[in-house]
Symmetry: C2
Subunit: 132 residues, 2 copies
Amino acid sequence: MKLINRDTDYAIRALCYIFKHKKKVISASDLVSELRIPRSFLRKILQKLNKKGILKSFKGQGGGFLAAKPADKILLVDLIETFQGKVSLNECFFRKLTCPHKRTCVLRDKLDKIEKQVLKELKRITVVSLLR
Amino acid sequence: MKLINRDTDYAIRALCYIFKHKKKVISASDLVSELRIPRSFLRKILQKLNKKGILKSFKGQGGGFLAAKPADKILLVDLIETFQGKVSLNECFFRKLTCPHKRTCVLRDKLDKIEKQVLKELKRITVVSLLR
DNA sequence: AAGAATGATACCATGTTAGTCTCATTTGTC
DNA sequence: GACAAATGAGACTAACATGGTATCATTCTT
């Protein structure tokens, strides 16, 4: 029952490093030696951040990554959704089917409320707030 | 990222049924035909509830299960912990080791706060509050 | 003694997570 | 233009978690 998984975690570490060296283009190699994250794994993560428009990438010698937007515009929730899908604490399945009592289920109702709270809190966390 | 998994879900359904038929001893067979949950799976769940002191069991013909304590004394959190372990939204591992920045990590700090909120809300939910 | 129930526990299939590997493409430098 | 350094794309794999099954032992009622 983890809120963030390893991809998201690594993405955050990478982003923090990139923001601490703003203006410089950071290559995967830089990040690997700095963060000690497995190279191939990290590369996949960087590619995804690029596709999502959170990083800009530059190919070829001297290439690497730059932030595509300011740190206070990158929400933790966006990262979580990028790597783990929509935040949903109350998916309810009954024998592989979506539960037939969806609308009337008291438990679901209560979990929904908790989910909304969590989401609200998560939305207040940006990459800036993680830069120490 | 689910707050409750299938074991917990089934446990709740079973408990609700048992409480709605208080005083009667309910067998696994009763529950299977009522709730349409796979027999063996349900039996494992009932056994666990028994071991945890949430149900009392009776062997032999006419045997089955009874609630071991009142519905308002059974917290949803207890069920979650029985089947899924301690609620912990912020486990942080770094390359299989516990993360070395545990104490200084800003993210961990924020997730901790969210976890405390969730836990507080979860503790307010008892089986009574799920009996409709 | 028989049958109906739970207790204990091993097993299995599928999906998810974390990580690896390879090849193609782009770009800067000599 | 050749080469090296970088990213892009995507297939592959090992280990673990989840959901579910199966079997045999034990206990209790009749």
